[in-house]
Symmetry: C2
Subunit: 238 residues, 2 copies
């Protein structure tokens, strides 16, 4: 483990245990330098991690203040969309199950070609999955993935967790995602699978997930019942 990560973890613990209580100041950087026996650049890097998570605010000339936003302990879960939903639910009391509605291989249409940066001769998986929480319909996911990036995908993976397969078997590294969130009227397919009424809206999320080397891994559209899902995120101004 890297020094600055270790120090960041220790500082976070101290904030959580209120050894550094809200609205107090962290020890000055030179003091932390002596305590941890590292250079100031390393201390700065550690503090910077906390700042990016909204835990502290550093100001030239005055010091580094511990903030007390009401959402600090929620930090863990709201980012992890591409660990797959399976992971979000791994430590929860609810159980997530998946039901493959359709699973095909086909040549991509123009939208999919653009989003996944493919030519029309490179086949893609076309997957429609319903995810259920404790047996109740939660989200309908329509996913395209290039076959050459994800060889050997099977219904078994789809009914459990695709992302476990990607990470553990294929060792693919995900860089991030570009997401668009919108509201929409429910269509017949939504109503059928999500078990919602004709005038219920849905929350729609379109995303393209990229690998670290820049190749798009997934283009998907997911639709959730409006009353069971929302998206939260912390947006830090740089």
């Amino acid at each position: 483990m890297l020094k600055y990560e270790e120090i960041a973890t220790i500082l976070k613990e101290r904030i959580q245990k209120e050894i550094y209580p809200p609205d107090s100041f962290l020890p000055k950087q030179t003091e932390l330098v002596s305590e941890f026996g590292v250079s100031r650049m390393t201390i700065k890097k550690a503090i910077n991690i906390l700042a990016l998570e909204g835990l502290v605010y550093s100001q030239r000339g005055s010091g580094t203040k511990v903030l007390n936003h009401p959402f600090v302990d929620k930090n863990l879960s709201y980012l992890s969309e591409y660990n797959g939903l399976s992971n979000d639910f791994a430590h929860s009391e609810s159980t997530l199950t998946s039901e493959a509605i359709s699973f095909n291989v086909e040549f991509p249409d123009q939208t999919v070609q653009e989003r996944l940066m493919l030519s029309d001769t490179q086949p893609v998986y076309n997957i429609l999955r319903l995810r259920l929480v404790d047996g109740d319909p939660f989200v309908l996911e329509h996913t395209y993935m290039p076959v050459d990036l994800v060889p050997g995908l099977s219904t078994a993976h789809i009914e459990s967790s695709i992302y476990n397969y990607l990470k553990t078997e294929l060792n693919l590294k995900i860089a991030g995602a570009y997401r668009t969130i919108s509201a929409d009227k429910s269509c017949l397919t939504d109503q059928k699978h999500l078990n919602c009424s004709t005038d219920d809206p849905v929350l729609a999320v379109q995303q393209v997930i990229y690998l670290k080397d820049g190749r798009p891994l997934e283009y998907s559209t997911s639709r959730s019942r409006f009353d069971v899902r929302s998206y939260s995120y912390l947006d830090i101004q740089l």
Copy 2:
């Protein structure tokens, strides 16, 4: 301007002009050190900015690759929610206008007290505004702000841009926002002001905006017509 910012800007320009084309590699860091006459740490900091924006991907042992995500040039606008909508539209061909529907001062209820970390004796503004684009209803914003943080707010500010007042007159510095996005059925108020039909959904955004010193500045709920607004963001895995 700081050295690493200057260098980051130059590198971005070169990527945009395809002096460094997609899928190519940036010059090695030692080469950039000679070119710019700075230390390698400074080059690293500059490249790191590009990496956080998803423009390049650095890998130990191989180099720094220029990525070609289709959304790179959208980088400018999708983050700027707390510059106020007024700013989003400053360089657009459409015009944004605001209409104050109600503007009061009151004692906060319990939700508002929690979100804004206030006691029940600290008054807040309660503002309901309709924002229109080219005269068409766009979003209905319901905003609470502590009076002591924003003295002297008037209808004139509300009908133009609150955030200009906050930034230029009061010199308040915004750190970031915690946002929750969801879909909802439209209520009577939505239908009246957004001019939408009874079965039209709305896109709802709840947010708390924080100042750099950690104090909450605004708690607001905004509701938009489902067919005119969506939220996009780039989510980089760290």
